[in-house]
Symmetry: C2
Subunit: 347 residues, 2 copies
């Protein structure tokens, strides 16, 4: 980012008020970068989180139904909670949402939208199969449910083959949230929303009241980064780094976890989901934290905490291989102790 940061001083226009939809040169570049169809536009937000908030404010009335997989992203539950949506969940399997449950839900509950993270889901790391993508798109079209496709981890694939966006199969029934927090910098707070113009216009209108527009210098910095000749190499570096870390953690989990635990292998993203024998995952997380290991207990990823099966979300991108091995050892020890307690089963 250095060249752009240093050249900002010579770009007085980025320090003035800007357009609510975003910095013109960035939006124009993104049309090509994302290969948007003629009917579609891009808009810039204060992180893709704001894009989600604008979608909820523009489209969801109190009591409207919003479908998610369970478990699901905490920040999305917060946003839909703020607009008093009724969150309806469908179970997830290794290929994505359970399609029978999803169709039943669409048919019987007439939800307004389906919020999904098809690439390296948060928290489970699941990546939807090609067939699931096509079928979900078809169901969204058939039942007139808008797909809100959140793709923050999409570029973090370190094995297997890249798959099309689900939205590529239902471009007129979807909005895509694109994040640069995982491949550039979260501190910039620049996320992009893409979709057909008529879907995005209400978001732009609400954003005008919400904050006029997002920081223009930060949008210029993102543009400079995306246009930098080494940006692809930078992503390759991240992918290789995360692959090494993931493999180290996965092997350690395989070696050290006590019996009864199950690990979801992943092909990208930042998280591994470990399912556990029934236990008090909050108590476990607390005791691990006091031992220097941070994990996220499963109930926080469910709209109704008490319906959660015991599991933990583990992150493998932010620690060295040696730290990860040590963390897994401590996790396994703490978990064995927790499971040995007589009250574990009642928690």
């Amino acid at each position: 980012m250095k060249p752009t940061l240093e050249s900002l001083c010579d770009m007085p226009e980025v320090f003035q008020y800007g357009a609510t939809a975003g910095y013109g040169p960035l939006l124009e570049f993104l049309n090509g970068y994302f290969e948007l169809p003629e009917t579609h536009i891009a808009m810039a937000c204060t992180g893709s989180q704001q894009g989600l908030d604008l979608i909820a404010r523009a489209y969801v009335n109190p009591g409207d139904k919003v479908v998610m997989e369970a478990p699901s992203y905490l920040g999305a539950m917060q946003v839909f909670g703020l607009v008093q949506a009724e969150i309806v969940t469908v179970p997830q399997n290794a290929h994505g949402p359970d399609l029978v449950a999803l169709e039943t839900c669409f048919a019987e509950q007439a939800p307004k939208m389906f919020y999904a993270v098809p690439d390296f889901h948060n928290p489970t790391g699941v990546c939807w199969s090609l067939e699931t993508r096509k079928q979900v798109a078809a169901l969204c079209e058939k039942y007139h449910v808008a797909l809100i496709e959140d793709a923050p981890y999409r570029e973090l694939r370190f094995s297997g083959e890249a798959l099309p966006l689900v939205s590529d199969f239902c471009p007129q029934h979807s909005i895509v949230l694109r994040s640069f927090s995982k491949i550039a910098s979260p501190g910039l707070r620049v996320g992009i929303v893409t979709g057909k113009r008529s879907y995005l216009e209400p978001l732009i209108k609400i954003k005008q009241g919400a904050d006029l527009h997002s920081s223009v210098p930060m949008q210029a910095v993102l543009l400079g980064l995306l246009q930098h000749e080494d940006f692809d190499a930078h992503i390759d570096t991240i992918r290789a780094l995360y692959k090494t870390r993931y493999e180290k953690m996965f092997n350690a989990l395989t070696n050290y976890l006590p019996e009864g635990c199950d690990i979801n292998p992943v092909e990208g993203g930042m998280f591994v989901w470990v399912t556990l024998p029934q236990c008090d995952t909050f108590a476990l997380a607390k005791s691990l934290l006091s031992n220097g290991v941070a994990v996220v207990p499963s109930p926080v990823f469910y709209p109704q905490h008490q319906l959660a099966s015991s599991a933990l979300r583990l992150n493998f991108t932010n620690a060295t291989p040696d730290e990860l091995e040590e963390a897994v050892k401590r996790l396994s020890k703490g978990l064995s102790e927790q499971l040995a307690q007589p009250e574990a089963m009642q928690a």
Copy 2:
């Protein structure tokens, strides 16, 4: 801003996720800069506009009453409209809101908050007198109405004496919105909200769902600017520049405006409000724009357009003295023509 922009590359922490309330070093600095009492905190938003949006989302339920002066800031009406507030207006005189009308309104309508721009009001340029400030604060305390004090133009005083914030007289019943868009840069999108901790905590909670936090590098740039040894001199320069421009425009208006028009003299800010004989101000603004002069017609500053008296908001900060003189000539000519039309009085 140049030194900070160039040093950002050596501040990796600002490119990571940050705290929702804002960049720690900035918030700490602002405690002293604003001389906040012990009970108060500052939080950073994507422009003070977002602060206002968060206040509305945190505190206003559909049908709640929010008081404003009429005319008032368009962006505030948008925000309160989004949460379905009932906007109640009180008339404004040369010293601020009509205090009798304000007390009647507080007593009879039990509003939740009073949104006010006491320093160089947008659109009228009115600056509340010291006595009005004290009395409004007392009324807010007496009737338990929260004061939302929006102060974007406060530092732009070029004559007369600086007055305390209204909130200084009711610090436990108010929230202050502080903008740097008029003295630093609007493109950064960094505004500050200050108030007692218990008032601001719900805003921080909603902001977490809304966008996680605002751009950290931009907050660091603002901090660098506020700490720069020449920042006070920079504000003095702006004030002197705007004073010259204001005086040129004011004199031109006095010389050229047709009979029946009235000008509010101002001691700072960015705007002059010109009241006109009854006419179609939208048609006037449109015809002036085609002649290269941009003005804002009065109805847009009223929740109910049809209740607006004919007037125009003129900006004097963004054009040279010669341009301003020429603009006033064209305005006066266009206005004379408009007023000469037989249908002018029915519009």
